[in-house]
Structures are given as C-alpha cells and as structure tokens.
C-alpha cells in the first residue's frame, strides 16, 4: 500500500477544491504513502503568502446554498484547507512543488510563496517523482 506515491496536480484555487486536495493528501499521508503535489495556475496563486489566508471563494457548482453549508462547517470548527495540509505535512512525507511555467505566467517569485511550498520544478521532474503512482488533477 505504501509503495507508490500519490501525486496531485493542483490547478484549482478555490477553498473547496483546495480542501479536497488537502483531504486526499491527508488520507495518503495517514496510510504511509508519500505525496507529491504540483501547483499550477490558481492552485499556485493560493499559496502566495498574501493570499493563503484570504477568502478564496468556492467552485461555481457550490452556488449560494453550497456557500452557506461551507460557512456552517467552518463555524462548526472545520479547519481551513491550509491547516489540513500543514497537519498532513507533519504526519507524513508531502512534497509541494510549484510549477515553473505557472511561476513565470503569474510572475511569482519563490519568496512570495508560503513555506508550505518546498520548491519549484518542471513537469518532467514531477513525472519522474510520480513513478507509477496515481496522478490526480484537482
């Protein structure tokens, strides 16, 4: 079960999708699996120091009703996506890399990113580290 890493290409930058990615990463970490996360576009944007704690909205499918439910969950004590990810990182081996192309397009420097991000890499390195593990696109 532990052998192959779980690989997540995190493209989305809304709170619900980021939380979903954090949950998938947590589950894998709890099972002793290594997790590789590749941040692209809006997923990368969300890890900016000046954005990570901001309200990043929800996916369009949420609608008004979804927004109410998510707010209720937060009020009931559910932690934000970045906290879920931080805890998962303490538990297991989670490597979070920024896609170098997205860094260029979004004009982000490494120093702009939250310490949760371990580095910058290209797609080839991501595939190499992914091995035969599953790749999720979120």
């Amino acid at each position: 079960m532990e052998d192959e890493p779980l690989n997540i290409v995190l493209f989305s930058g809304t709170e619900d999708r980021l939380q979903a990615a954090a949950v998938m990463a947590s589950g894998a970490a709890a099972l002793g699996k290594k997790v590789n996360i590749f941040l692209q576009y809006w997923g990368l944007e969300a890890f900016r120091k000046d954005r990570i704690h901001a309200s990043l909205g929800l996916a369009p499918e949420a609608g008004e009703h979804g927004a109410v439910l998510v707010a209720e969950a937060a009020k009931a004590g559910q932690q934000p996506w970045h906290a879920t990810l931080r805890v998962a990182k303490e538990l297991g081996e989670i490597d979070i890399q920024a896609c170098s192309l997205s860094m260029d397009v979004l004009k982000i420097e490494e120093g702009d990113l939250d310490p949760l991000v371990d580095g910058v890499e290209g797609v080839t390195a991501f595939y190499l580290n992914a091995g035969d593990g599953h790749i999720l696109f979120i």
Binding site: S26, A29, A30, L31, G92
Partner: protein, 78 residues
C-alpha cells in the same frame, strides 16, 4: 473488554474526516510496537475508515464499540 493498559487516548470527538485518522496515525507513530491506542470519534464515516486504515497499515483493530453516538476504537501498533 480488554484489561491491558491503553498507552494513549486520542480524543477525535467532534472532528470530521480526515482528522480522526490523521490524529490516529500521528499518535501511533509515537507508540512502541505492541502498545494499545484508544480513539474516540463521533464522525459516522470513522467505522469504515478505521477498518481500512488498520488493514492497510498492518496495525490491528482490536476492539470497536459504539455508545451514545461515540465510536471507540482500540488499535494495537504492529
């Protein structure tokens, strides 16, 4: 009812997925092989999660009870 000593208790009541399992995995790390861990949870999804986690990690799910909406799991570290 086991009479063996519980080495550690994880109170995951009120926490929802994935936190009960994450906290359990964290606690198990600090135990020695053979030690018992007790976990309390209220998340209904827990039952399957703990069975699955025990199976996948090789830690034994020794006991599993529910009382008044609180699930109690006793695990033995492999």
């Amino acid at each position: 009812m086991s009479t063996e000593q519980i080495a550690q208790v994880v109170d995951a009541r009120g926490l929802s997925c994935p936190m009960p399992i994450v906290k359990t995995a964290q606690a198990v790390k600090s135990l020695a092989s053979g030690q018992l861990l007790e976990v309390l949870a209220t998340d209904p999804g827990s039952t399957k999660d703990f069975t699955a986690w025990a199976k996948a990690t090789g830690n034994e799910l020794v006991e599993q009870t529910v009382e008044g909406g609180v699930y109690r799991f006793v695990l033995r570290k492999k």
